[in-house]
Point group: C2
DNA sequence: GAGGCCGTTTGATCCCGATCAATTGCCGGC
DNA sequence: GCCGGCAATTGATCGGGATCAAACGGCCTC
């Protein structure tokens, strides 16, 4: 049962934070405002947030946002592009744990300790908002509301991850892939992108690793879904042709509509 | 790929809260104090906690603590016995999501909504501490410290569940069962019980369901581990004979020492 | 445009765990 | 003690996905 993770050993390519000269310094003006947790706090708190928040220069593809074991310096929200989070197993294999789209907060699971339990890397050129950890903790101390928002986000992510846990390892390959596609579609739709035609920013290896399958199985499954006229695939481009049938495929192994499964519920992540 | 969940349709047996005449009304005096989140808050907050906390009469085996979809009325900590949490899939199958031992908080994932996302039922005669949800939220509003403790608990549970997610569905049966046994052993040890000889309070169906396997495979795997003189099994009683080898088995499929995997880190759950 | 690299697809075979089926063992009632 | 019922074990077979292997195709360099 070895070789699941067709290994990808990781090189680190660390860089300092470079602030962008971005003039758009208010959250309220951000295109993602309605998706961001910043929407849920009071004006005064948002003023504070606007003061401490840093918008980094775009990250290049494959550039890391943080490394496992590294000290937690900032709380990070994706602004554009996409991000992959992963862990490293003892053998040094990469294990993909989630994909993050604009508006989602990265690394909530690092809150407990002072260090990141995993890694985060840009899948394409991406931008982020960074809130220095100390500032964020100070805000937490002062604002019960912000606390509640964070508790809520974490609790949601918790319920979601648990749900994912219930199905991964119990579902067959076709179901996993169908759920994955629907999840991406739904999350993109939320960001006003075409839910029926989109580009997967991660490669097959990442998808396979994330779903607990092999590259070959993912590829075969995509081909099969295409053969059945449910989707059309060409490289990273995916078109959903028969959404209803795709949804049926997603319900095979275990019940559960895709409304919750593998799907962000508010401004949180995974998936 | 159907039939994973050798179904157990669930009957609800709801009862009102009955307070026990228990004189032990202070958390500080509780045998579980060192395991409980109550240890981490200030004296004043604990006074408040002592005021609002209710200790229920023992729950009978198979008695439910809460039902999915039911309104969140209390925050519950296990005092004695053991509890199983589960979800119900669309087909009506039970899906076991965790086991809870004394000192662990049940249903943290319900925090986001006002209702429980899943079910919780006593595996044997058990006692709990119940904090009315309103009181708890009031305390949260007033105490940044309590907020931090909860955020930390949730964040830990998050990291843990994510870790579990990474391995379940990627590990072979032997590894899953080994991890499960080591997890139970470790958690019991933390509660001053013999880590090398203990009783599994859940039946094979629950174990199989939790691990994403079938009853037969769990049974076969236990038999195999016994044949290899790693453990001794007799019904629900398990004895760990060769812990080192068992730990080796647990590392097969994917790296990761069992220190984090499937193991409660503080006063939280899963398992 | 030729060649090479790498990600992806497709094919053939194997193995683990699911499935189906039968047996054993445990416990409670009478 | 005997019997009925359910949990657990053990056996035989099947199938989905991993594994090994090869071919394909896009993209970059020269």
């Amino acid at each position: 049962m070895r070789g699941y993770y067709q290994d990808r050993k990781v090189m680190s390519k660390r860089k300092g934070l470079r602030e962008t000269g971005d003039n758009e310094t208010r959250c309220e003006d951000c295109a993602l405002f309605s998706l961001c947790f910043a929407q849920e706090i009071s004006c005064e708190e948002r003023d504070e947030l606007n003061r401490v928040l840093k918008r980094r220069q775009p990250l290049a593809k494959n550039e890391h946002i943080f490394h496992g074991g590294q000290q937690l310096k900032t709380v990070t929200v994706v602004r554009s592009g996409s991000v992959k989070s992963y862990q490293i197993s003892q053998e040094g294999d990469e294990i993909v744990s989630g994909f993050y789209l604009p508006g989602e907060i990265i690394g909530l699971d690092g809150f407990s300790g002072e260090t990141h339990p995993g890694f985060a890397v840009a899948l394409e050129e991406s931008r982020t908002c960074d809130i220095p950890f100390r500032d964020f903790m100070r805000m937490l101390d002062r604002s019960p509301k912000l606390n509640q928002v964070m508790l809520k986000l974490l609790s949601e992510e918790m319920a979601e991850t648990r749900e994912l846990l219930l199905v991964v390892g119990r579902l067959d390959a076709r179901t996993r892939v169908a759920l994955f596609l629907l999840s991406m579609s739904r999350r993109l739709a939320r960001r006003n992108q075409d839910p029926n035609q989109f580009r997967l920013t991660m490669d097959r290896r990442d998808i396979a690793n994330y779903l607990g399958l092999t590259i070959e199985t993912v590829s075969r499954t995509l081909s099969a879904l295409q053969r059945d006229d449910i989707i059309a695939v060409r490289g990273k481009m995916v078109q959903i042709i028969d959404r209803r049938t795709l949804q049926e495929q997603a319900q095979q192994g275990v019940g559960g509509d895709d409304s919750a499964m593998l799907t962000s519920r508010s401004a949180n992540q995974s998936g």
